[in-house]
Every structure is written in C-alpha cells, then in structure tokens.
C-alpha cells in the first residue's frame, strides 16, 4: 500500500492497463449469433409452432476447457415406432458466429434417438436443441456451457 502511495505513477499506469483490458474484453472479437438469431433459425424451420419443454436430454460438460472439441450428446425420449418417433433434431449454439450446429434426421430403423458429436464453441453460451416428433409436436431444451478457451476463428 505504502508502495503504491509512493509511486502514484505506477498506480495510474496499472489502472490505465486495467481499463484497456476491460475495453478489449467488451469489444466483440467476432460477430456472434445472439439468442435472437437462434430464435430466427427455429422460426425458419417451424414458423409459429409451439415449443414444449421436456423429452430431450443433454450429455454436455458444464465447463468445457477446450472450445474446439466439446462433446455433445443428445437423446430424445421416444419409442421410435411408426406412430411415435423423432423425425428431426436440431442443435443451435447462441454464442457462435453461426448459430446452427447440426441437424439429425432419424428413421424407425433406429431404436433410440440418441446421437453424439463433437462441436466447437466460441465462448460461454447456451446450447439449444429442438426435436420434431412424428405427431408434429415440438420439444426444446436449453443448457449453458462455460468455455475456458474459445474454438472459432481467432
């Protein structure tokens, strides 16, 4: 403390440095998708149809150390019969430059609608899944993943 008082110059310098860091953090490095863009993508697919919570389960880390390779597991609860099956599953990430991650189209040859992929996440953000069932019902689920090192561009 006395050290800081004796050297006001150093203190000013540090504060200026801190302000610069904050400015750098606030300035967007990349144009990223906002939650509104995810919403727009969902509207493009299923304009105006109601989305219910449930049926979907994520297998996602809550903290991803490396945003370049984030394991993503999604399972949609369904009997996968002719009458009751999952037609499609779409995954979005609201903090990536492009909100779409992947779409999966299932058939009744598949006994369960469960998939695993590895994805890139540019920063801490929400993962949104939307499932379309054979009867036309839509289900959704959202989960946040904290990313230590981002994985898009740079």
């Amino acid at each position: 403390m006395t050290d800081l008082l004796k050297h006001p110059d150093r203190r000013t310098l540090m504060m200026a440095g801190g302000a610069a860091t904050i400015a750098a953090l606030l300035a967007p490095r990349l144009a990223v998708a906002a939650p509104a863009q995810v919403e727009a993508e969902i509207q493009k697919l299923y304009a105006g149809r109601p989305l219910a919570e449930g049926k979907i389960k994520f297998d996602l880390p809550s903290i991803a150390e490396n945003g370049l390779v984030v394991p993503l597991g999604v399972e949609v609860e369904s009997a996968m019969t002719d009458a009751d099956n999952v037609k499609a599953l779409h995954v979005f990430a609201d903090g990536n430059p492009n909100p779409s991650v992947a779409s999966f189209f299932f058939t009744t040859m598949m006994p369960k609608a469960a998939v695993q992929v590895r994805m890139r996440l540019a920063q801490t953000q929400n993962i949104v899944a939307v499932a379309e069932m054979a009867d036309g019902k839509l289900y959704t689920l959202k989960r946040e993943v904290k990313v230590t090192i981002g994985g898009c561009g740079g």
Binding site: F104, M109, V115, M119, L121, C152, G153
Partner: protein, 108 residues
C-alpha cells in the same frame, strides 16, 4: 490436404433385432470460414456438410453439419439390425466430393 479417411467402428455380427452402436470418424480439417490467415484474409470455408447411413440401400440416418462441428468429425448413433447386410456410409464435402465407407454385418 490429404484425402479424408473414414473410420467406422461397429460389431461384425449381431442378433436379429439387436441394437448396435455405430461410431464413425473421418479425418477432415473442417475449415470454418471464420478464421483468417496471417495476412488477415479469410480462409474460405471447407467442411463436410452432411453424413448419411444406409442399410441394404435404405436410408437409416441422415445429418446436416455446420461449421460448429469439430475437425475430424465424430458421429455416434444407434441402429436396430433386422437382418444380415451392408451398411453404407457417405460424407459430403463442401467441394462436392463424397467419401464413402462400407461395413458388412452378419447375423449370429
């Protein structure tokens, strides 16, 4: 870039009606189109944008991939094997190339 090499891991035999997990991997850089080279120019996008699995000629599973899929894309899914036959897997590149792999499965 070297030609992408697909790799598929699944059992060689199954009981009729048994559920198997199919795991696939293909070597591909999945250039997102968001990165810049050292001169500040955007490196053009080149990814595998789709993957499809067929069994005895019938479509089993299809996916669409976006640049958010990691390099060397991994994909795992489940299939119920009704009879002996051949699985065909196909990955479609942005440049139009299709990388294929086949895997036979016997009932036993």
């Amino acid at each position: 870039m070297a030609t992408p090499t697909p790799r598929v891991r699944m059992p060689a035999t199954a009981k009729a009606g048994e559920t198997i997990e199919i795991k696939t991997l293909i070597s591909h850089e999945m250039e997102s189109g968001n990165r810049k080279d050292k001169d500040g120019k955007v490196i053009p996008r080149k990814i595998i944008n789709g993957f499809e699995a067929k069994f005895n000629g019938k479509q089993v599973f299809k996916t669409v991939w976006h640049p958010a899929i990691s390099a060397n894309p991994f994909m795992s899914f489940f299939v119920k094997v009704p009879e002996a036959g051949t699985f065909e897997f196909a990955w479609t590149d942005d440049d139009g190339s299709v990388y294929k792999s086949e895997q036979k499965i016997a009932i036993g």
